[in-house]
């Protein structure tokens, strides 16, 4: 019954931790491995115009809903211009204005985006489908051409999307018939005018269509223009179509910049307005990206990240979260392997100190301080002092030794000495006392053996607590603590032999004279 209880509890803890970690990985894109890089796209829009020696107002469409991407940051670079960002239901526009501008003007807008993680990219907005357009009244010969084309396609298609696709294929055919030529009207299929024409044609079948413009994310491309694309609504959702081929979907790395046919840039008080785009890509730590993405998405999970804490506290937790792992090492060594240590958690405290001093220095300091402390302890024994004053003397000596080391190392220009301040002096004092009792009771060999054993466990603990991968996982997924708790519960119910016991009890079963009974 108790066994079932413990197992269930352990499983529940593990399940809870895994569920939380899974949610964080999928929705926030938190990386399981440290040091992973994620590409961040930086898109810079350059707005140029010639000012006409009077007040100028520039109205520039800037991205709002990015679809498959998440905005990490944006910058407006516009000296001498006042800036006002207007967000409406449909779009977001930057309004730059100045009282007086002269000569050629340049304004920049830069946005940094990363790809959206799978879960959040599903477009959940669009509660109400847009109203279908009224059928336009076409002029001849366009009217009959459109009627013929739409009539042909209607016979071959099952729904709105296939209808649109078929229409586009027909209108882009390499060997067009007369009707198609009339509709094409020599328009360039890469142009916005062609997309406008398609929308106009499709309105003949009362199909809701709109133009979107986007930037193609290609590293180091400059002077890019916006690529027009066609979007169709089938009564439920929007879908993108290639205006040149009729293929459904969007190009890879297509960043939607604006929606609708309205011009991206409107200028008052100037001429020769022009906008061009430059795209570059750089790598950023995946952790940083995930964190910014979490903030941008305003996910509740983002609140569970330790990045929200003040930096000092964060650093504290980077150490604290590792302590249970050190405890795991001690618990494992003591209950499964069966090696004794001086004090239950002394090795952990020493291991934490090693983090500050680095391993070689730490071991040296530990041995030096313990050796000096033991010598003093044996000397004080001759003075026959009472226990607590004697412990206090050893403690004082430990601090003195550390002080001397710090002074010496600063004289020699080694700055490592200073970090020993975190050495657990009280624990060291107890270690010295404990070792000296073992020394007296069981001889120096036993004392040194136990001291060395503890040092080895401390080193193991240090290696685990210092591990870059584990530090990363513990800090990003503190729910791992629940898993550790489960491990401790299971380990606490282990009643099998300790490894050292297999050796210890060897003679019971392997002496030839082993007798199962009396």
């Amino acid at each position: 019954m108790k066994k079932l209880h413990a197992t269930t509890l352990a499983l529940c803890l593990c399940a809870a931790a895994l569920a939380l970690a899974y949610a964080k990985i999928t929705t926030l894109g938190l990386p399981l491995l440290p040091g992973q890089l994620e590409p961040v796209w930086s898109i810079e829009a350059k707005v140029e115009f010639d000012a006409a020696r009077r007040a100028a107002v520039i109205d520039f469409d800037i991205p709002d809903r990015l679809g498959d991407f998440v905005r990490l940051d944006e910058y407006f670079i516009s000296r001498d211009y006042g800036l006002n960002v207007v967000t409406t239901n449909r779009d977001r526009r930057a309004e730059w204005s100045t009282r007086r501008a002269q000569g050629s003007q340049r304004l920049y807008y830069r946005i940094e985006v990363v790809p959206q993680t799978a879960d959040e990219s599903a477009d959940t907005a669009r509660a109400r489908p847009p109203k279908a357009p009224a059928q336009p009244i076409y002029q001849e010969p366009l009217a009959s051409a459109i009627q013929d084309v739409l009539g042909d396609v209607r016979a071959e298609s099952a729904n709105v999307f296939t209808f649109v696709s078929q229409t586009l294929v027909k209108l882009n055919a390499p060997s067009p018939d007369g009707n198609v030529l009339v509709i094409r009207d020599n328009l360039d299929t890469d142009s916005e005018a062609w997309v406008e024409r398609l929308i106009y044609v499709l309105a003949g079948a009362r199909i809701t269509a709109r133009m979107v413009r986007g930037v193609m994310l290609e590293d180091r491309s400059a002077n890019q223009r916006l690529t027009p694309w066609l979007e169709i609504h089938n009564g439920e959702r929007w879908a993108g179509f290639d205006p040149r081929t009729g293929n459904r979907g969007y190009p890879e790395n297509f960043l939607r910049w604006s929606v609708g046919s309205d011009p991206v840039l409107k200028l008052e008080g100037g001429r020769n307005a022009n906008v061009s785009f430059a795209v570059s890509r750089y790598a950023q730590s995946l952790t940083t990206v995930a964190r910014q993405r979490a903030e941008a998405n305003q996910s509740w999970l983002a609140n569970t990240l330790l990045f929200n804490l003040p930096v000092n506290t964060q650093n504290l937790y980077r150490v604290l979260l590792m302590v249970p792992l050190g405890a795991l090492v001690v618990a494992f060594v003591r209950t499964i392997i069966g090696l004794p240590t001086l004090g239950t958690f002394m090795p952990i405290l020493v291991a934490i100190a090693f983090r500050e001093t680095e391993l070689a220095w730490g071991i040296g300091l530990f041995v030096l301080i313990t050796a000096c402390g033991l010598s003093l302890r044996f000397y004080l024994e001759r003075l026959q002092l009472l226990l607590v004053p004697r412990l206090a003397s050893v403690l004082t000596l430990v601090i003195l030794i550390m002080l001397v080391i710090s002074l010496l190392s600063s004289q020699l220009g080694i700055d490592k000495g200073f970090s020993i301040a975190l050495f657990p002096i009280v624990i060291l004092t107890m270690v010295i006392e404990h070792m000296s009792v073992i020394w007296e009771e069981s001889g120096p060999a036993a004392a040194i053996k136990e001291g060395t054993g503890s040092l080895i466990v401390a080193i193991l603990g240090y290696l685990v607590m210092k591990d870059e991968y584990l530090t990363h996982v513990m800090f990003l997924f503190p729910e791992t603590l629940l898993v550790l708790l489960a491990v401790f519960i299971v380990m606490g119910r282990y009643t099998g032999y300790r490894l050292t016991e297999v050796w210890r009890f060897k003679d019971i079963v392997e002496d030839g004279s082993a007798r199962p009974h009396s």
Partner: protein, 317 residues
């Protein structure tokens, strides 16, 4: 490795994890530990129950009283100083003789009164106590052990450890001090443990430092076949000790005094497992048999009978 583990399981060897969770946790209520961890309390309870213990010469509670020990041992040639809450035989000072103002230790070293006082102060400060808590020092009668063990013990006092499970003596060993153990009878300090046949009280195998031996490491005398005088009386005494502290898993340490007969030295709420090596068999079979015999009789003699019945039935097979 796996094969050896399987053999240990087959031999019914109980490991430390199993002892702690399977026997100590369910059978030894923590609130009773004070009765056995504090030897003063044990002694008081034993006297109340009419169980013989080494005579108490005096108790020292505070550092200021440390020098009073001289008055307590006035007129006595020998005595023992031990911490009331010591563990594993730590901090026991045995004075075997006195010469002028000096106190002669078991190993022949002479100590001044100040040195004895310092030892007492260390005891009071908690150097040897469980968890380092301040402690009391017990000054008591030094056991003059029975001459039957003369040939097999080095200096200190050999004692008999009986493991009492739910009031039934389950396994026993004779613990003999060696040079390595510095005259102490604790196995982890290098003393010899001899398994004892529960029916006859004759030693069987012996173990030292976890390894099987046949002869005493210091004297080369044979360790098997020693008959322990008054064995049945010792078993009964061990069974009675369960009433002092109703711990289900209890170690009873007894000595055979040349003049006073069996005395209870101390009780142990966490008796070690080396007793299995000394006896060359695992504990589990016996412990299971005792569990199977429940409900156990309340009369100590009858409980010893339960054990006898178990071993006799084994012999019959």
């Amino acid at each position: 490795m796996l094969g050896r583990i399987r053999k240990l399981i087959a031999a019914g060897v109980v490991g430390l994890n199993n002892r702690n969770r399977g026997y100590i946790a369910p059978h030894n209520p923590r609130k009773l530990y004070a009765r056995v961890d504090d030897k003063v309390e044990t002694k008081r309870l034993a006297i109340g129950a009419g169980i013989a213990v080494p005579e108490l010469y005096g108790l020292i509670y505070s550092v200021r009283e440390a020098k009073d020990f001289a008055g307590m041992v006035d007129g006595r040639r020998d005595f023992v100083v031990k911490p009331a809450r010591g563990s594993g035989g730590k901090g026991i000072l045995v004075i075997t003789d006195r010469r002028r103002d000096m106190y002669i230790k078991g190993d022949g070293h002479a100590l001044t009164a100040a040195e004895v006082e310092h030892h007492i102060q260390n005891v009071l400060g908690g150097v040897y106590s469980l968890g380092g808590h301040p402690d009391q020092a017990i000054i008591e009668y030094r056991v003059k052990f029975d001459p039957v063990f003369e040939q097999v013990s080095y200096r200190g006092v050999p004692d008999i450890r009986v493991l009492v499970y739910r009031g039934v003596p389950a396994m026993a060993m004779l613990r003999l001090p060696t040079r390595a153990s510095d005259g102490r009878a604790n196995l982890h300090q290098g003393a010899v443990g001899c398994g004892i046949d529960m029916l006859s009280g004759v030693t069987t195998l012996a173990v030292c430092k976890n390894r099987r031996i046949a002869e005493h490491p210091d004297f080369g005398t044979a360790l098997g076949g020693l008959a322990i005088p008054g064995w049945q009386e010792l078993l009964l005494l061990a069974a009675r000790c369960q009433e002092l502290a109703p711990l289900g898993y209890l170690g009873v340490d007894m000595v055979l005094d040349a003049n006073l007969g069996p005395l209870v030295l101390e009780l142990n709420a966490r008796p070690g497992l080396a007793i299995q090596i000394a006896n060359g068999r695992g504990l589990r079979g016996t412990l299971n048999a005792i569990d199977a015999a429940a409900p156990l009789p309340s009369e100590p003699g009858a409980r010893v009978g339960v054990l006898r019945g178990f071993f006799e039935s084994l012999l019959a097979h």
